[in-house]
């Protein structure tokens, strides 16, 4: 019984000790700022997670090499949740308590974001720019939540409206992934068509990870669609285009920014020629790049021994927004001061061709716009400016 009592005592004392630790400004010390990210490095969207992380690492390394932010080095603490909310909960707790992350950037995947966001904001940490289309990432307004990815619904509405208006499509259809992503796109497309006095002629879905889309494409063809909007990711985009071309159906297709990737034309080759896509940030092609972009691509190659893609640019851009806001906040860095500074920041368009990001005290969504691009001669070419 004595042993049991001793155990209980030890348990109680360790608990009270941990509770009594001082609540200093988490993640900010005299010479370091810790930034956390709950990414997907091994799950279904690892092909986004790895370049996003590398892009962020590159920007933070540059800031550190230039003397840090007000003398503080930035350390990126990366956790892999593999799109699994259970792992995300543990990862977020680890970053909050063990690594004492000051802010979270680019947490990846809706289940991951929805499961970890309450833990993060309840601990008083910033939740910045997550990879999730969910409105809860910026609405209702929360002092610590900021988003800068244009919602699928908003930019797909603008893109569909532009395409149908300019090119006179009569029978618009939708192929969508049956999850929150697909549903968001559907809402945007339906809204655009309703505004033009039209509606979707046919809609058909697939489960994430499906590789055979032949029945869906056959169904869309039977409905005599003249525009197919794709709420797909890279592999399914290629599969849908290839299937249509294989059966001799030369329909126009428009994919969301999730399909706007160099991998789409690398994998799809001739089959994806002519595909329309929405870009919220251009792919960094070395050929024809401006001098700043070319130098950036060289630095990226040298650092990671890999070609940068649009996700690397996104990671780099997100980290850049963080660094610039932290610099503008000043030496006294707290989540509240950072958030109020970010609300006053306007980020103009840069050499990547990004949109202008702007936040305010009553709007924490930095961008709502995308622009149209098309695959021509094996690469994406931008064909419009950012659409309203």
């Amino acid at each position: 019984m004595n042993a049991l009592r001793r155990l209980a005592l030890a348990l109680a004392s360790s608990l009270s000790l941990a509770c009594a630790l001082p609540a200093a400004a988490a993640g900010v010390s005299a010479d370091e700022i810790v930034v956390g990210t709950v990414s997907d490095l091994s799950g279904p969207i690892a092909m986004l997670g790895v370049p996003v992380r590398d892009g962020m690492l590159m920007r933070f390394d540059e800031a550190n090499a230039a003397g840090g932010v007000h003398g503080r080095r930035i350390r990126l603490a990366v956790e892999d949740a593999g799109y699994d909310p259970k792992r995300a909960v543990l990862a977020a707790r680890k970053l909050v308590q063990h690594d004492q992350a000051f802010a979270f950037i680019a947490n990846m995947g809706t289940p991951v974001v929805m499961a970890s966001m309450p833990i993060i904001v309840d601990a008083g940490r910033l939740h910045l720019f997550p990879f999730s289309p969910h409105r809860a990432t910026y609405e209702p307004l929360h002092p610590l939540k900021f988003q800068n990815f244009a919602p699928y619904q908003d930019y797909m509405e603008a893109a569909t409206r532009h395409m149908v208006r300019e090119r006179g499509y009569q029978r618009s259809c939708l192929l969508y992934q049956d999850d929150d992503y697909g549903l968001e796109v559907m809402k945007g497309v339906e809204k655009a068509l309703a505004g033009l006095g039209s509606e979707l002629v046919e809609r058909t879905s697939y489960k994430r990870g499906a590789t055979d889309l032949s029945s869906q494409v056959a169904r869309l063809r039977a409905a005599r669609c003249d525009l197919v909007v794709l709420a797909t990711v890279v592999r399914e985009t290629v599969a849908a285009m290839s299937e249509a071309r294989k059966i001799g159906w030369n329909v126009d297709m428009l994919v969301t920014a999730s399909g706007y990737s160099a991998q789409t034309h690398e994998l799809g080759g001739a089959a994806v020629e002519g595909l329309y896509g929405v870009s919220v940030l251009p792919h960094p092609y070395a050929e024809g790049a401006n001098s700043q972009l070319a130098a950036w691509i060289e630095r990226y190659r040298a650092r990671f021994k890999a070609e940068p893609n649009v996700w690397s640019v996104m990671g780099y851009t997100l980290a850049d927004l963080f660094v610039r806001t932290a610099e503008a906040t000043g030496r006294e860095l707290t989540p509240e001061r950072f958030a109020r500074t970010l609300e006053g920041m306007a980020f103009t368009r840069d050499y990547f061709g990004s949109p202008a990001y702007r936040f305010s005290a009553d709007d924490h969504l930095g961008n709502r716009k995308g622009r149209l691009a098309q695959i021509r001669n094996g690469r994406w070419e931008l064909i419009t400016d950012y659409l309203d």
Partner: protein
Amino acid sequence: MSAALSRGAGAAVRAALPWLAVLLLALAWLGTDYALGKATLVATYAIAGLGVVVVVGQAGQIALGQAALVALGAYAQALLVARGVPAPLALPAAAAAGALGGALASLPARRLGGLYFGMSTLAFALIVEEALARWESLTYGAAGLAVGAFAFAGWRADSTLAQAAVSVAALALALLACARLLASRHGRAWRAVRDDELAAAACGIDTDAAKMQAFVVGGALSGLAGGLYAHWIGFISPEQFGLVFSFELLMLAFIGGARRIAGAAWGALVIVAIPPLISLLRDRLPGDWARASGLELLLFGAVIVAVVLLRPAGLAGGGQGR
């Protein structure tokens, strides 16, 4: 009588000692919130795994879709709580939803045996996942469902300590109930069916009924775990309860030891706690090693291979396989 009681209590204390040691170590090393958050999930997974231990380890049936039963519990809990039912009162309903699902999943066992029946449980899981995604008016489909805190009469399990306490209490009750069941006529019938179904039938055991009972109990446990899971994760969507989760639960049972109820707890510890521990160790690795993608999965695989090789009957099952 009192001697037997104190012997039982002594055994319980001995069984609890390694767990207290693990908890203390975790508290000291990881910090309170992190360790307690992990304890919450370990206990919740252990309850779900207990369902697999009953069905697979005790009744000898193949269950490839246990996550669907967790999903039924999670959705039942989320929907009831959203309609104002206090969380502790919704939990029995979550368990009942799991039990009902278990009963349905076990129906093909009357006609099918072995692997064929295993395939039918897989199909059942796919049907449940699909139904949850399609029945949008009730489940909000693939967009998912936010679940509030575990609350009752003005008290909310907001802190990790409260969450851990609720889950560990539920696990303790579940372990107790299981221990009693396994020692009863039902438990003996399950083991008889597992060891030799024909011989069991020859002894007068209604094998169909025994299998269904195992599924009902296993389903109730997994449903209960689902109810808790919904609160701890705070957001549920059909994809979370896919085949990966089902296989995780199977792995959990085999790593821990499918033939003992303590196996569920040990298995849950490995499945839930090892990946974050690996990530802590990874932070200590030099240079680009720490950046390598999938390193955690690789190490996790190595741990599982080691467990299977060194403890073929599971962590709770002793050194030799049976």
